[in-house]
Amino acid sequence: MTLPVVLGVSLAVFALGIYGVLAKRDILRIAIGGTLMLSAVTLLLVALAQALPQQGMATVQAFVLVVWAVEAVEAIVAIALFLYLARKGITDIDELRELKW
Amino acid sequence: MLSLLLAFPLLSAALALLFPRRARDIALAGALALCALAALSLWSFSLATKGFQLLERIAWARLGSVEIAYHVGVDGISYPMVLLTALLTLVAVLVSRREIHTGEAGHYALLMALCSCVIGVFVSLDLVLLFACWEAVLVAMFFLILRWGASNRAYAAMKFLVYTGIASAALFISLVVIAMATGSVDIAAMDLSHLSPALRTAIFALLLFACLVKMPIAPFHTWLPDAHVQAPTAGSVMLAGVLLKMGAYLLLRLGVGLLGDVVAQWRVFLFALGCASAIYGAFVCLAQSDLKRMIAYSSVHHMGFVLAGIAIGSSLGVTGAAFEMASHGIIAALLFALAGLVHERTGTFDMDALRGLAQRMPRTAWLLALASFAAMGLPGMTGFVGEFMILVAGFARFGPLALLMVPAVLLAGAYVVRMLSRVVFGTGTLRASEGGASPLPFGLLAAATLLVGIMPGLLIGIIAASTLT
């Protein structure tokens, strides 16, 4: 796969993720958007890794693995949060306003 | 010696907190001990030395090239203030014994801590120590007003803290600039003469702003009436007696002492400002109908005179200003203490309601009359000597321009007469009795006023022991 294509796809997915986080009101959709952003970034990193020397490749691989691990944990926490809120009947993020002044 | 004077009140404060139920007696003992120590220190003070005496120094820390130390000492300008603080602390404690019945431990602790920090301001020869004590004074007074004040205390306390806090910020900036420019924070050894004129003017401007707010001088005075009216009597005594003098002292010590030529450039302006503030304060005082507010504005009036004396700059002018600082401390404290007693017995400060005081509370009323005459500058009491010296110095330096001071003197008489005829004399429907009030705090202050007024030589001798006079 050529670099420009991957760049384009990655940006598109990232943009999609940002759109999901900022413009959506459903909590699950926001969480999905966040995951999309992370995936886009890791995709980009993996693609760029080809251009790097051996040492760099290893760093990228390590980085991406860490990101996946964090992403997994984050997903679990997000799902747990969402389930808790869903049981309360809250699905709209605008209903969470406890941090207001 | 000076460290003892600083430590004793702090010790009393700590003990008062540890033993809340004995707090009153601990505070009284501490205040008495402080007075005794202050009296003892008179022996060690040499009238012939022109520089700083009773020096103590403990090196503390080093910030870059700036060495910060616990460096204390007194000279002719600060020593009377130390003595005054000791006397007023005793008066404040005695007055509080009658007035404060809730949260006593905290009150006396704060009062003693306040005392210690005020003495700290007057004796420190290290800028960092001075600023630390200055800020601590603000905080202590804030809590005193907030917790034990009158009905609108939150507003007054906040106003006091923020307004004088802004002044402290200006002071802080100027201190930082000094430290950066000279690499030292030691007042005794400081020399600012090699700095550029622009820098010196900037430092002085910041310092001046801080002092003008603190003294207070119109138009930066409006925090004072509210603070006084809402503060408890002990707070008012300390506020009018010594806190206001901190500003004048700083102006003398750092302004005249270190930046004398800048003061000389600004001389006429400062003199006119002082006279204007005195006249304005007296006019506003004339129109008041609340006794405590009136006394507060009379403080603005007297401190205007002090500024005029400092601005004159001559040896006699500075002596007069320092004398007036001490004298006004005693007189204002006496006035506020009496006002506190009147309020305690009658429940009001409203001058119209208090008419005919001399018939119900004769001793209090006549003492109030005596204190008012002192405030007016009647010869035989301290107010006259300080004012007279400033007047002579002013006319010697400025000639006919000094006529600005004369209306202020006249207006002081006017507001005193008005107060006397509204409060002390006349017939009224007042119901009050003065039995059982201890005459000690009032007697002490009245005696001080008369003694120093009839024989001012000793105080003048102490004031002369300074490089500024």
């Binding site: 986080v21 993020i93 969470l96 306003r97 941090l99 | 009647l378 001012p456 006079t469």
Partner: protein, 591 residues
Amino acid sequence: MIPLPFLIPLPFALVMLCALVAPARAARRLGYLGSLAGAATLLLVFLSYAGGTGTQAATWTWFGAAGEQFPLTITLDALSLVLSGIVSLIGVAVFLYSVGYFGDEERPSDLSRYYAILSLFAASMLGVVLSGSLLQLFVCWELVGISSYLLIGFWHGKDEAMRAARKALLTILVGDAFLLAGIMLLRARYGTFDIARVLALARPDTLTLLAAIGIVVGAISKSAQFPLHAWLPDAMAGPTPVSAFLHSATMVKAGLFLVARMLPLLLLVGLSPWLAALALVTIALSACMALVETDIKRALAYSTMNQLGFVLLALSAGAVAAGTYHMLTHSMFKALLFFAAGIAIHATGTQDMARMRLALGANALAIVAGIGALALAGMVPLSGFFSKETILDALVRQGNWTIVACFMLAVLLSAAYIARWYLLVFARGGRDARAPWQMMAPAVGLALLSLAGGLAMGKVFGLFGEAAPPVLTPWTLLSLALVLAGFLCTYLSCVRGWAAWLPGTALASAARARFLLDDLSAGVARAALGVARACAWIDGNVVDRAVRGVAVRMGALARGARRMQTGRVATYAFAIVAGFIALVLLLGALR
């Protein structure tokens, strides 16, 4: 070793201390103590003067500061001798009179306070007249003013008395401010407080002129001359001994003393015509007001103003000896008249002359009052005649015939008004006046002195090193004729009822309204209060408003900033994204 002259105020000072610590039972007897102190003071005065001839001075440095000296100086010369003699002599009389004046209705603590302040007054008054340093003069001057306030307001429960006391003190304070300015200007110009040195060094320049004006205004306020006179009649609300002592015999002389003491300076800067003008206006106004006044003490107050105007006129002509001699005689017969008035008030229970009915006849009171009245009018052979003649002689020698003519008219009017006073009080048949001996004895004593006072003329003038003017001259006879004419006028209009249209004239109405001058001074006070209220308004609404405005702005700013914390996650997320982009762009721009 304290020089003897400094001991002169000591007896009265001791009485003051005694009064402050005396037990209640002894309060009444303080009056006798005060009399003794007066006698002792008189003795001290004579001893001090006998110790040397000519002018003496004794200095004591009260305090020194920054290389400057602040001395108290006592000067003993003719002027201070005569005036301290007046103070001590009248003091003897007044303290004794007070014992009889205050009945049992006064509380002992009040009496102690009275005697204490009266003694303070006497001691400070002596300080004023003995002073050779402007500092001492001012110090004692202020003390005199305050004791006057406290004495006028002795019955501080009475609103009328307190109003009068306040008015008196405020007027005097205005004068004090001017005097202070004058003293300060002199100090700045000549570098000393010492009066003798200032007079020796004096030059007629602007500063000295300003200082002289200040001094004159101060003197006018104390001596109740136009235009600062409105306080004197009201001051009659105080006890009669106070009116006799302060407001006729001594305190009001203090201003004239100051003029006399500083006269070389005042004449040097050319204030003589102004002093004469002020004196003439005062004389004219007070004579008119005395002629229509119905209150017994107020009428005497106006007559005091009038007689003091005579003294000021003499001083403006440079005749210090004549002026001082008139001060001496005036204090004796004026105090006498006040004593008589006090007895009359006690006997009749009213101060309104229209309602008094006292017997004329071989009544002791009527006789002594008559002596006083004749002395004031200037009838031979009483002391007042001699002193008036010395003034007339000085004015004639000065040569300004307008002034002489005015003076003659004043002589006629003063005879007229005192005759009217006497007739209204004593000549309408009624009861006898009984008074305790403590009140009669001083009156009789002063009456005797007024009879014999003419003998002192030579002595007094001798003290000043001048020769007494001749007594029998055409001018003397002319003024005697005018005095008799004045009596005649009064007799004709009051007893015979001639010229009944006189009280209806515009002049009379103006006089009854006190020429609106009282209202003027009240207006000035109200204006000052108005300025004060304006300043207070500015303070609350302009200055403090700015301060509060800052606080309000800060609060608004804070509330605005608070709105960033919406609590909505979407907002925070947006902020993170936007902030990040901004940061990246910024870093890019910086590179």
